[in-house]
Amino acid sequence: MTEYNFAYLDEQTKRMIRRAILKGLAIPGYQVPFASREMPMPYGWGTGGVQVSAAVLTPDDTFKVIDQGADDTTNAVSIRTFFQRTAGVVTTTATRDATVIQTRHRIPEEPLHEGQILVYQVPIPEPLRFLEPRESETRKMHSLEEYGLMHVKLYEDISRHGHIATSYAYPVKVEGRYVMDPSPIPKFDNPKLGDMAAIQLFGAGREQRIYALPPYTQVVSLDFEDHPFEASKANHCCGMCGATDSYLDELIIDDAGGRMFVCSDTDYCEARQAMGHKGKDAA
């Protein structure tokens, strides 16, 4: 066997995945079961995202892959190479030029535009999983819109710590109906989920679930009136490009534990540097 079908998966499988995607788009935030396939990369390493990307990619697409916001992290490189090999699509690191962006743990800083598709890799699609381990129970809770347990958990956080102690994979409510896990993006990214111009697709391979947000969907991060949701990030600016509005990675730069902060979105940071912006640590 030397030749694989375009984007690896056979057409029947892609059709099955597209059906799940369409159903997901029709019921925003609802987790659609799908017959996830074994992929040539391990479960938990983006097989859901890869299957969704394979189902939506066309030969004319321009593909970008990020992991932790960066184009050059090892798993992003691996997935990009996979589609270069199996689909022969053009790839890019520029957010605005990409038509399909597969991501793990971040939403790009630059606002996405209509016609783009953002594909999230999802490890645990069930926002109620760590409150109730049983799938049969959580599905019932979703169908009955029984989200009291989640509010109790958030309330207990506040009473114990003074804050909601969830900093990533922060749960959201979609169009006033389904509580959804936005994948482990930092809560800093949560406000970008709502009212987005691009299509957002979420693929969980091992857990066999797909869900979706059509463009301009209302997405609200769960909170309380007296404890409103707050998107947080490190209180610094980027050492390389000086950005004050981007999500930052913290790096340890010497043996004495010296630290610096850099944009996690590598494309955003490089584009700003190319425009002449300079942070305090830039050469």
């Binding site: 074994e38 992929m39 938990g44 992991d67 490189v77 990030k233 390389m240 913290e250 730069i253 640590d281």
Partner: protein, 362 residues
């Protein structure tokens, strides 16, 4: 000074080149051939076929070679390959009653029609290292006799004639396909058995063992264990009848379990069932015990909260390819999540510290 990390691509290529070199090992030692693995490490090949859900000894041997002997990695290679294969159709159900048995034993009857056949078993070998094997040994030669021909009746059928064991109603409903439909709960027995036959051997063994030690106990006898080859037939629509397309070696285990009756069922023996590709005896027995434990509901038994009784727990965690992938994914970068946790912990500590200072001042 910080320079943004680049070159992940080259690092990956180099790592893979190193891996390939390590796999081959020193070139002054002869390379291991696929046929050697297939014929001399056949129990490893069998496990890879069973848990990879693909009956092809050559491919399984190749996978073992490529995986450097890591069987779960080899199973993964087989699964990833299998999923790309087109489906031509489904075979007729195989008939284990006409199995050409290499091994067939019953722990419940001393003798039975067809006799007890030990076959090539480790049982009763003394586990002493055979240092002769380390030298170039002669090819061993076993005595042989004419094989038994004809049908080999299942031991449980004899119990069935007396009505002492539960009746399993004949059912021609096509079973669900775990590899083509998402696993959803509740899972019927056909689906559970399908998941168990490709389940991780170690996990299944551990669960089965737990039932023996009291976590959902239902004492099991090996009613029968048989290993041998069965013909696989497929219905060819153009011909209008089924033709034999090959043979597979299977291990089948039927357990006979104590059952004192429940509100809905009379006292009788009950069944556990295991059927696995290849000579995979430990797995087939484990499968039969776990199958029986999972049947508590249909037999009207109490759920004592044992792990082996919990279908969701068992089926969602039995697949070693899913498990190993998710387990090992924590090696991937998590800078972003970790950063947000850092911020949160710093904030909580800062506030806790401020509170202490204030309390001290008061």
């Amino acid at each position: 000074m910080y320079v943004a990390v680049k070159g992940g691509e080259r690092a990956i290529q180099n790592a893979h080149a190193w891996l390939a070199e390590e796999r081959r090992g020193p070139t002054d030692i002869a390379e291991l051939g696929i046929t050697q693995i297939r014929e001399q490490l056949s129990l490893a090949v069998n496990r890879v076929m069973a848990e990879g859900s693909l009956y092809d000894p050559d491919l399984a041997a190749l996978a073992i070679k490529q995986a450097r002997g890591d069987l779960i990695e080899a199973i993964f290679l087989i699964r990833a390959y299998r999923t790309t294969l087109p489906r031509f159709g489904a075979s007729e159900p195989v008939d284990t009653g006409i199995m050409a048995c290499d091994r067939r034993i019953s722990a419940t009857f001393k003798d039975l029609p067809g006799g007890q056949v030990l076959g090539p078993t480790f049982d009763y070998t003394h586990r002493l290292l055979d240092f002769k094997l380390a030298a170039d040994g002669e090819a061993p030669n076993a005595p042989s006799r004419e094989p038994e021909t004809g049908n080999v009746p299942h031991v449980t059928e004899f119990l069935n004639r007396e009505g002492l064991i539960e009746e399993v109603p004949h059912d021609d409903t096509p079973p669900p396909d775990l590899t083509r439909e998402p696993l959803e709960m509740p899972a019927d027995r056909a689906l559970r058995l399908q998941a168990l036959t490709r389940a991780d051997e170690g996990f299944t063994l551990g669960l089965a063992y737990s039932t023996q030690r009291g976590y959902g106990r239902n004492h099991a006898f090996v009613g029968e264990l048989r290993i041998g080859s069965v013909p696989v037939e497929m219905d060819i629509p153009e011909l209008g009848f089924s033709v034999e397309i090959g043979e597979v070696i299977l291990t089948e285990c039927e357990t006979v379990n104590q059952f004192t009756g429940s509100k809905t069922e009379p006292p009788q023996f009950t069944r556990g069932y295991g059927l696995v590709f290849g000579q995979t005896e430990r797995k087939a027995i484990s499968m039969a015990l776990v199958d029986r434990a999972l049947r508590w509901e249909e037999l009207g038994e109490d759920n004592v909260g044992a792990p082996a009784q919990d279908a969701e727990f068992v089926l969602y965690h039995a697949d070693n390819i899913q498990a190993t992938g998710f387990l090992e994914h924590i090696k991937l970068p998590h800078y972003v999540d970790f950063q947000s946790e850092l911020e949160l912990v710093r904030k909580l500590r800062h506030e806790a510290g401020a509170q202490q200072v204030q309390e001290a001042a008061e």
